[in-house]
C-alpha cells in the first residue's frame, strides 16, 4: 500500500480501545419486568386505552348516578296509593314535562327533567337505563368470575392429577364443548326461571332475583370449559419444564426460572381469557333478557328494555336505540380492551 492520507487521524487513534470504551459503544435497551413491559405496551395502544376509559366511565356512572338521581327505577310516577292513576307522567319524550309537572313548574317548584323521557308506566327512563347498565355489568362480571373459579378448579385438578381423573374431566369438557350452547342456555334458563323461584324464596338470594341466579348457574355449568382447557394446558407445560430443569440438575435456580417466566404467562393468559369472557356474558344476558328469560321485572336490564321498546317502536324509537347503543358500547369497549390486553401481554395469542 502506498497512499497518502489526509485524514484527521493521529497516531493516538491507533492505540488499542479499552473494554469500557467498547461497552459504551454498544447501547443496550433498558430491561424491565414482564408486567411493566406489558402495561407499557397496553398504554401505547390508543384504542385499548380509550376503551378502558369508556368502560370505567360507564361503570362509575352506573354506580354513582342512582345515588343522586331523584327518580327511582321502579316508581311509577303517576301512581300513588289510594289515588287515581295520573297518566300525564306516561310516555313523555326526552326533556318533556307532563301536564302535572308543568303545573308544578308554574307553581314555582323545581322538577328534575326526564333526560330520556318516561316509559309507558310513567317510570323515568334514564334511571332505568342506568340500572339496566348496572345489572348488565354486574352480571357480566360475576358470571365471568364464576366461570373463572369453576374452570380454574377443574382445569387444575385435571392437569395436576392427570391419568384417569384428567381423562374423565376432559371427556366431559369435549361433550359440553360440542353442545350447542345457546340452545342449552335457553333451555336451562327457561326451566330454572320457573323452578328456582319457590326454592330460594325467603332467602337472601331472592333479592337478587331467581332469573339472575339461574343465569349464574347456567354460566357455571356451561361456560367453564375453555378456561379449564387453558389452565390444564398451562399446568401441563409447567410440569414439563420442571422435569426438564430437574434433569439439568439446576436445583433452586430451576424454581426461580419457573416463577419468573412461566407463572406470569399463566396469570396473563387467565386474566386475558376472563377479560374477554365478560362481554360474552353481557351479550348472553342481554340476549336472554330480550327473549324474556332474563332478570325479573321490575328490575330493568338493557336487553329487556330493548325488548319492551319493540311495542311502541313507531312512536318512540329512541326507547330502543338508547339501550341498543349502550349495550353495543359496553360490549365493544370490553372487546377492544380485551384485544389490547392480549396484544400487550401475549402476542402469541393474536389471531
Amino acid at each position: 500500500m502506498s497512499k497518502k492520507f489526509s485524514l484527521h487521524v493521529n497516531m493516538d487513534s491507533f492505540l488499542p480501545a479499552t473494554e469500557e470504551e467498547k461497552a459504551y459503544m454498544v447501547q443496550m435497551r433498558p430491561s424491565s419486568t414482564f408486567f411493566r413491559d406489558g402495561v407499557k405496551r397496553l398504554l401505547k395502544n390508543k384504542v385499548a386505552t380509550v376503551s378502558l376509559i369508556v368502560i370505567v366511565a360507564i361503570t362509575l356512572a352506573s354506580i354513582f348516578v342512582p345515588m343522586f338521581w331523584p327518580y327511582s327505577y321502579e316508581s311509577m310516577l303517576g301512581v300513588s296509593p289510594g289515588k287515581p292513576v295520573d297518566a300525564s307522567y306516561n310516555n313523555l319524550r326526552p326533556f318533556q314535562y307532563g301536564a302535572t309537572e308543568q303545573a308544578k313548574l308554574a307553581a314555582g317548584e323545581r322538577v328534575f327533567p326526564h333526560v330520556f323521557g318516561t316509559d309507558s308506566s310513567g317510570r323515568d327512563y334514564f334511571i332505568r337505563i342506568v340500572y339496566g347498565t348496572r345489572i348488565s355489568l354486574a352480571v357480566g362480571f360475576f358470571a365471568s368470575i364464576i366461570v373463572l373459579i369453576v374452570g380454574l378448579t377443574l382445569g387444575s385438578i385435571a392437569g395436576y392429577f392427570g391419568g384417569k381423573v384428567d381423562m374423565i374431566i376432559m371427556r366431559i369438557v369435549d361433550i359440553i364443548y360440542s353442545l350447542p350452547d345457546m340452545l342449552m342456555v335457553i333451555l336451562l334458563a327457561s326451566v330454572l326461571k320457573v323452578s328456582l323461584g319457590p326454592v330460594i324464596e325467603g332467602t337472601a338470594l331472592a333479592r337478587i332475583g331467581s332469573n339472575i341466579i339461574s343465569l349464574f348457574i347456567v354460566f357455571g355449568v356451561l361456560y367453564w370449559v375453555s378456561m379449564s382447557r387453558l389452565i390444564r394446558g398451562q399446568i401441563l407445560s409447567l410440569r414439563e419444564q420442571e422435569y426438564v430443569l430437574a434433569a439439568q440438575a439446576a436445583g433452586a435456580r430451576g424454581g426461580w426460572i419457573i416463577r419468573k417466566h412461566l407463572l406470569p404467562n399463566c396469570i396473563s393468559v387467565v386474566i386475558i381469557s376472563t377479560a374477554l369472557q365478560i362481554p360474552n356474558a353481557i351479550f348472553t344476558e342481554s340476549f336472554l333478557s330480550f327473549l324474556g328469560l332474563g332478570v325479573n321485572a321490575p328490575m330493568p336490564s338493557l336487553g329487556s328494555l330493548a325488548s319492551d321498546a319493540l311495542n311502541g317502536l313507531a312512536s318512540y324509537p329512541y326507547r330502543l336505540v338508547i339501550p341498543a347503543v349502550v349495550i353495543s358500547l359496553i360490549v365493544l369497549s370490553l372487546n377492544l380492551f380485551g384485544d389490547g390486553l392480549r396484544d400487550a401481554f401475549d402476542p402469541k395469542l393474536r389471531t
Binding site: 500500500m1 502506498s2 497512499k3 497518502k4 492520507f5 489526509s6 485524514l7 484527521h8 487521524v9 493521529n10 497516531m11 493516538d12 487513534s13 491507533f14 492505540l15 488499542p16 480501545a17 470504551e21 467498547k22 461497552a23 459503544m25 454498544v26 447501547q27 435497551r29
Partner: protein, 339 residues
C-alpha cells in the same frame, strides 16, 4: 462489462420501532460463469442483498439507495414490469427451506410449467417436455411420475432439486442460492453442491452462493464477500480470503474453524453478540467484539482499501500496518504532511 454490478446498495426495513438498516452501502461485481460466495452471520444482510437484487423484499423493506445493473441495465426503480421479466428468467433464486418453498396445493408439474410458460413461448406440451427434461437434469428419477405428484410426497433433498429445476428452467444468467444446503442432511448437502457445480459448468451461468458455512465456500466459490452488519468487511478471491484474511472479523472466523491441526486445543469463538441494527453505532460495526479494536475503530468507519489486485478490505488494522511499514503516510489536520 461485468454481468452484475452492485454499487453502494442500501436497503432498510421500516418497522414500527424504527428503521432497520439491513444493508449499508455495499458494492461488488459478478462476472459471467463465476461463483461468488457471500458469507456472514445471521443478520449480516446477505439474504437481504439477494432479495434486493431480485426486488422481492417484504413489504416493509425498501431499497433506499445505490444501483444494481444487470448487463448494463439499471434495475433499481426499473418498475414491476421490468422486474417480472427478470425474475425467474434472467436471475433465479432458490431458498433455504425447501419444505416450505413449494406451494403444497399445486402439483410439481404445475409449478414447473408455470415458470416455463411465463417466460418462454412454449405451449403446454412443450412446457411439459421441458419440465420433464429439467427434472432429469437434476437427477430426479421417473420424472413423468413426479410431474403429477405433490411436494409433500418428497424428501427435503428431492424438493431442493425440484427448486433448482424450477430455477434453471428458463436458463437464467445468474442463479442466487440462499443457504441452499443449510436445511439438509450433510450427505445430501454434498450431492446438491455437486449438482449445482456441474450445472453451472454445463449451462454457463453465474452463481451467487449465500451461506454461513465456510466449508461450502471453500468448495464452491471463486470469489468471496464477507459481510457483517450490513457492510462488506472484505472481498476477494477465495484463496486470498481464506489464506490471507485482512479483516479482524474474517480472521476471527477463520480462527474459529476447528481443523485437524488444532485438535485438542481450545476453541476460539468470536466473543460478544451481533449488533442491534436499530441502534447502529458510529465506527466499525465489528469493533465492540474485536480483540484488536483501536480507538479509531470506535469512532470512524474504515473505507474499503485495496490489499492487492484481487483483495479489498475495510479494516483500520491494515492502515496501521501500512503506517508501520511505511507504505502509508498520514497527513495531519490539513493535508499531507509526514507523521
Amino acid at each position: 462489462m461485468p454481468l452484475l454490478e452492485v454499487k453502494d446498495l442500501r436497503t432498510s426495513f421500516f418497522t414500527p420501532t424504527g428503521e432497520v438498516k439491513a444493508v449499508n452501502g455495499i458494492s461488488f461485481n459478478l462476472d459471467r460463469r463465476k461463483v461468488l460466495g457471500i458469507v456472514g452471520e445471521s443478520g449480516s444482510g446477505k439474504s437481504v442483498t439477494a432479495y434486493s437484487i431480485m426486488q422481492i423484499l417484504a413489504s416493509t423493506g425498501k431499497i433506499v439507495g445505490g444501483s444494481i445493473k444487470l448487463d448494463g441495465q439499471e434495475l433499481v426503480d426499473a418498475g414491476e414490469k421490468v422486474m417480472k421479466t427478470v425474475r425467474g428468467n434472467r436471475i433465479s433464486i432458490i431458498f433455504q427451506d425447501p419444505m416450505t418453498s413449494l406451494n403444497p396445493t399445486y402439483t410439481i408439474g404445475h409449478q414447473l410449467m408455470e415458470a416455463i410458460m411465463l417466460h418462454t413461448d412454449r405451449n403446454k406440451q412443450q412446457a411439459y417436455d421441458r419440465a420433464v427434461e429439467m427434472l432429469r437434469l437434476v437427477n430426479i428419477n421417473e420424472p413423468e411420475k413426479r410431474m403429477k405428484q405433490y411436494p409433500f410426497e418428497h424428501s427435503g433433498g428431492m424438493r431442493q432439486r425440484i427448486m433448482i429445476a424450477m430455477a434453471l428452467a428458463c436458463e437464467p444468467d445468474i442463479l442466487i442460492a440462499d443457504e441452499p444446503t443449510t436445511a439438509l442432511d450433510v450427505t445430501i448437502q454434498a450431492q446438491i453442491l455437486e449438482l449445482m457445480k456441474s450445472l453451472q459448468e454445463e449451462l454457463g451461468m453465474a452463481i451467487i452462493l449465500i451461506t454461513h458455512d465456510l466449508g461450502v465456500v471453500a468448495q464452491m466459490c471463486d470469489e468471496v464477500i464477507v459481510m457483517y452488519a450490513g457492510s462488506i468487511c472484505e472481498q476477494g478471491t477465495a484463496e486470498e480470503i481464506f489464506y490471507r484474511p485482512r479483516h479482524e472479523y474474517t480472521k476471527g472466523l477463520m480462527r474459529s474453524i476447528p481443523t485437524a491441526d488444532t485438535a485438542g486445543t481450545k476453541l476460539h469463538p468470536i466473543t460478544g453478540t451481533p449488533i442491534d441494527l436499530l441502534n447502529m453505532p458510529e465506527g466499525c460495526p465489528f469493533a465492540p467484539r474485536c480483540d484488536n479494536a483501536m480507538k479509531i475503530c470506535l469512532t470512524q468507519r474504515c473505507e474499503r482499501m485495496q490489499v492487492n489486485d484481487e483483495h479489498q478490505a475495510a479494516c483500520w488494522m491494515n492502515v496501521k500496518a501500512g503506517v508501520e511499514d511505511g507504505s502509508i503516510e498520514i497527513g495531519g489536520e490539513d493535508g499531507d504532511a509526514d507523521a
